[in-house]
Symmetry: C2
Subunit: 370 residues, 2 copies
């Protein structure tokens, strides 16, 4: 956690969407900008599956955040105007309560005794935290990927408390292809003998399973088009001898995946990965409607306007799902602007394609009267 991390302890036990209550729950968060006197300039930024609350640098923590180019004074989400809050998701391992946290009932890490988690819990825990801070209404809920699902959940469950929505590369419910990709990642982790049925010891987590899972994850976050352009068939340049392992890394694309995966497994808890991966499979906005239809559920949303962004090369949360969200919002009378982007970086485009994403988000936030 960074020097900018603050913590908020939710009052009382926290009841979860699928039953069971957490005896106690803490959320880590960071903020940028100042809360206005009327408390009407809050931008709540939901994260994807893996990031911490460190979305941008600040005086307290000058290190680059995961959406650095988007958030700051004068930036698209202008912190001289808005008070931006980003929480580490409930269930995550960067300061918020999750399966790696100590279970107060046993004094040991929860591991798999952590109860079943849902996107709805991620949304509601942040709403409770905001209320404890004295914030009862947010100007905009913003999120990409799992963050977009969380923002939709928030807007449906607390319709009177959200003015605007920015949904990026998300879905009202996952496709079977996305489910399969995530299921296989969980399988990689569970198959690692070091996972030990979920009750691994501190410092003994299933590194190999995590390494495989992360590689697979990365493949689903980028696109064939990007890699064709970025790596082609370029070989690895070995410092001395070529690889000595059988079937060793030979192409740059293989080396890129390996290096990224090795970095990731140092910071992420394996069970956290399982829980947060699964919430995306299970999420179905249609559960919030009598007829099971996400569009019907969206009728509950009372936001004034929305921006829905998606990317052509994203096969994890494909463009047709963004269009579905935008049309669902429009069908329910919300002024929704749908914008498909031509980025080649797939699902991760919002994290890297500054050129395309900054102007669109900036325009949305700078519209007069907002």
């Amino acid at each position: 956690m960074s020097g900018a991390t603050k913590y908020i302890h939710l009052d009382g036990p926290f009841p979860l969407y699928r039953g069971v209550a957490l005896p106690e729950a803490t959320l880590a968060y960071e903020t940028w900008g100042e809360l206005s006197r009327d408390r009407d300039n809050v931008v709540l930024l939901f994260t994807g599956m893996s990031p911490s609350a460190h979305a941008a640098s600040s005086l307290e923590d000058p290190s680059r955040g995961w959406w650095e180019f988007m958030i700051g004074p004068g930036r698209a989400i202008d912190t001289s105007r808005y008070f931006v809050i980003c929480f580490n998701n409930l269930g995550s391992c960067f300061g918020s309560t999750g399966p790696a946290s100590v279970n107060p009932e046993t004094g040991q890490p929860y591991r798999l005794d952590f109860p079943e988690l849902s996107v709805e819990d991620i949304a509601r825990s942040q709403r409770e935290a905001l209320r404890q801070m004295g914030i009862s209404r947010i100007h905009a809920a913003v999120g990409a990927s799992l963050g977009g699902m969380s923002a939709l959940s928030y807007a449906v469950e607390f319709p009177d408390e959200v003015d605007e929505l920015v949904i990026i590369s998300a879905a009202t419910r996952a496709t079977p292809f996305a489910i399969a990709i995530r299921s296989l990642q969980r399988d990689c982790i569970k198959t690692d003998p070091a996972w030990a049925g979920g009750y691994y010891r501190e410092g003994e987590q299933p590194q190999e399973g995590m390494r495989l899972a992360r590689k697979m994850g990365l493949m689903s976050y980028r696109s064939p088009q990007e890699w064709q352009h970025r790596f082609g068939r370029t070989r690895v340049e070995w410092m001395d001898e070529p690889g000595t392992e059988p079937f060793d890394i030979e192409f740059q694309v293989e080396s890129y995946l390996e290096a990224n995966a090795l970095k990731f497994i140092k910071v992420c808890d394996a069970n956290t990965y399982l829980y947060l991966s699964r919430v995306m499979d299970l999420f179905d906005l249609g559960e919030h409607a009598g007829d099971g239809d996400p569009v019907t559920a969206m009728a509950r949303i009372k936001a004034r306007r929305a921006l829905v962004l998606g990317v052509e090369t994203d096969f994890l949360y494909p463009l047709w799902q963004q269009q579905e969200i935008a049309e669902g919002l429009k069908a329910n009378g919300i002024s929704a602007h749908y914008m498909p982007m031509e980025s080649i970086q797939g699902h991760d485009s919002f994290l890297v394609d500054k050129t395309r994403f900054i102007p669109v988000v900036a325009e949305f936030f700078s519209e007069p009267g907002t």
Copy 2:
């Protein structure tokens, strides 16, 4: 191996494309139809990575073959007219010499002592086998996926011996995305402790690694579109209690992958998977041209006509690669017919989409004068 399987032992040691020679090599094969007196009606069918030589049923083996709907009397590849031969690939484990075969120098299975294999070796071993059978020219070389790469290799290396080509969902060289997908599958196998550095004992192969690899393979053989249509978000119906394993299978798509993978690992040798997976990454038709360009290499091909088929939803061997092959052939004066298909079954479409594939292949083989 089936009752229809025949074996041919290649004369002398078999020198491999990347150096080293196999002390001996046997190929398993099946045939359908009769060789004409002029020996001019041979259709050589190259397989993909996993199948055996049992492409179709016959009197000797009435069980369904992997391309049953395409091959037989009166079928698209009409065995009352053509003599169809299908070999099990060199390096495979269904009767041909591969890493699971006994190394005559040690009396033990080769395992990783099997030398590095190439697509060129698959092509040339079949050409040697044909010569030993007294066949010096083939009417058509046909192949999908790895089979298409093998057919291209054959046509480039033995240009005077191939009259026609049918290339389906193949490539002159793999994309980095395809390499990454296969690299991760190999990683799954190698990471399984049971792999034992490649020298596992008979009956003790890395089942878990194979299971994960096969699931990943399957995901790359099908398409998001097919699964959306086929599975949607339908849940598994448990016979009694819901899954008791943590993060157990919940959606039908997960159950489909699991069942298929469990079936597959019973029949396939792990190292065979590694070798045959790697040949596709390393294959580069451009190696057969001074300038490294696959199109230049295709100038060596002297086939009279060609059919090149690809599928819109195939992201492993995408459509643009089929177009590249067709245009390369045309640029070199070959009458090539390129036909993109709208099948939703992705890379595997040629195995399942009868409705689209049969008429096109039938028309090609029935053209007058052939």
